[in-house]
């Protein structure tokens, strides 16, 4: 069966199967959009959490760390309840659309990015704090400074978020509904093909998904290495 799975994967890729391309395209679009949105929010949030002391900071950090382990189905369910016809945002009609899937993945990825950013920025600030205080850099001004100087570690942080988004199936299944041609992504397609007993196709899709995630990680690694070489 494994052989035929590889063959199927190969056929799918070489044949540039239109359905496959659509599924892969949608998967990438949803996960990359979700990670981009989450990063835009999480970077300043994480950095602020690293730099400012305020009441409730410690519980917030613990909560954020705990949410890194938020089960995707729970995130999906929460978004489902929000967006369902009877829910508070039901009138938007977003349930079972790619937008809903992006929202669910943002909720999943945001705590990961924010918690890890907080950690990286706090580490770097330990090194920079005296120097920045000496030249008179305000706490607020330190946020962009430290984010930029931590850019190498933040690539890894983003990858962790992307890994989470592209691998999860629970959230996109619940809020997307796995509708063929509309909200079907790699992971939900694999679940479906498996339940139909079409194991070679399921495994083939799995191999394609793995290859994609591998390719994106390799790209980020090369980018990181290039920057590292340049920065010393």
């Amino acid at each position: 069966m494994t052989d035929s799975a590889f063959l199927t994967a190969l056929e799918l890729v070489i044949g540039l199967d239109a359905d496959l391309l659509a599924i892969v395209g949608l998967s990438l679009k949803i996960s990359l959009t979700a990670v981009a949105i989450a990063a835009l929010l999480a970077f300043p949030m994480g950095a602020a959490l690293a730099l400012f002391r305020f009441p409730g900071r410690a519980p917030l950090i613990v909560a954020l760390n705990a949410l890194m382990g938020l089960p995707p189905v729970v995130a999906g369910l929460a978004v489902y309840l929000l967006l369902s016809r009877a829910g508070p945002l039901g009138s938007l009609g977003l349930l079972f659309t790619p937008t809903a899937m992006v929202v669910a993945q943002v909720i999943l990825v945001l705590p990961i990015l924010a918690a890890l950013t907080r950690q990286k920025v706090e580490e770097l600030h330990g090194e920079y704090a005296e120097q920045l205080a000496s030249i008179g850099v305000s706490r607020l001004r330190r946020i962009p400074t430290l984010l930029w100087d931590a850019r190498l570690s933040l690539i890894t942080v983003v990858l962790a978020g992307f890994g989470r988004a592209s691998a999860e199936v629970g959230a996109v299944m619940i809020v997307g509904g796995n509708i063929d041609g509309v909200t079907r992504v790699m992971t939900t397609a694999i679940v479906l093909e498996t339940s139909k007993g079409n194991l070679p196709l399921a495994l083939g899709l799995g191999i394609v998904l793995l290859a994609l995630v591998g390719a994106i990680n390799a790209l980020a690694h090369l980018l990181g290495e290039a920057t590292r070489r340049q920065l010393g």
């Binding site: 090194e127 920079y128 005296e130 120097q131 205080a133 000496s134 030249i135 008179g136 850099v137 001004r141 400074t145 930029w148 100087d149 850019r151 190498l152 340049q230 920065l231 010393g232």
Partner: protein, 241 residues
């Protein structure tokens, strides 16, 4: 009632330590000590490891707050800069490091490049402008830190063991730069554990031991006829216990 502001000639900044001590978590690391830093001088703060030299600098520069006692600048606090033992440079080019310091001071964008380039040239770093600051040699990094301090136009420059990790050629360059600051009228306060360096640079010496002020004397006095027995022992290269 109106206040007349008299235009007084620019005087050297004067910092008074008034029974200052620093005791984090109840453990006294420095003080209580009282001393004055005044005059347009180069003061070398000396003493064995753990004497409290770096703490004294950080308190003076305002990076640490005293546990008790007060530090008072006469008049308003002057513009200050500090050069650390291991320079902390941003992960950007040498030039960008200097432009950053100017941006923090709200220097208009179009003036930054020119002023940063001037500072690089002044410290002999113009060829390294585009190099990432973190790949420069130790001596080059320290000169870049001095160039950055220069751009803050300090009236007082604190240096914490600025040459302790450098080779002789780099030490010479850093000492020349310190001279340059001094000749431009910048008050120098520097720590060192190197007696030879202190002889080359100091106008005045402060000797600390176990967090206490042992002696504060003009350099000539300190090196030829130290007032205290500890001072005498220190100048003669004996180990203080």
């Amino acid at each position: 009632m109106t206040h007349l502001t008299l235009s007084v000639p620019a005087t050297a900044p004067r910092l008074r330590f008034d029974h200052v001590s620093y005791a984090p978590r109840g453990q006294t690391l420095l003080g209580p000590l009282s001393l004055n830093l005044d005059g347009h001088r180069r003061t070398l703060v000396m003493g064995p490891n753990g004497a409290g030299k770096s703490l004294l600098m950080r308190l003076a520069h305002g990076l640490l707050q005293p546990t008790s006692g007060r530090l008072v600048w006469e008049g308003s606090a002057p513009r200050q800069a500090m050069v650390f033992q291991r320079p902390v440079l941003l992960r950007r080019s040498a030039l960008a490091n200097l432009e950053y310091a100017l941006a923090v001071q709200r220097v208009p964008r179009r003036q930054r490049l020119e002023r940063a380039r001037e500072a690089l040239a002044r410290f002999g770093l113009e060829a390294l402008a585009r190099r990432p600051a973190r790949v420069l040699s130790g001596g080059e990094q320290q000169r870049l830190a001095l160039a950055r301090a220069w751009l803050l136009s300090p009236e007082v420059l604190f240096l914490d063991e600025p040459t302790s990790a450098l080779d002789p050629a780099a030490i010479r360059a850093v000492e020349a730069a310190i001279d340059d600051f001094h000749h431009q009228g910048v008050r120098i306060v520097m720590t060192s554990h190197d007696l030879h360096q202190a002889r080359r640079l100091a106008d005045e010496v402060i000797l600390l031991h176990h967090g206490r002020l042992v002696e504060q004397s003009p350099a000539a006095t300190f090196f030829d006829a130290p007032v205290t027995t500890e001072g005498h022992a220190f100048v003669h290269g004996e180990l203080l216990d």
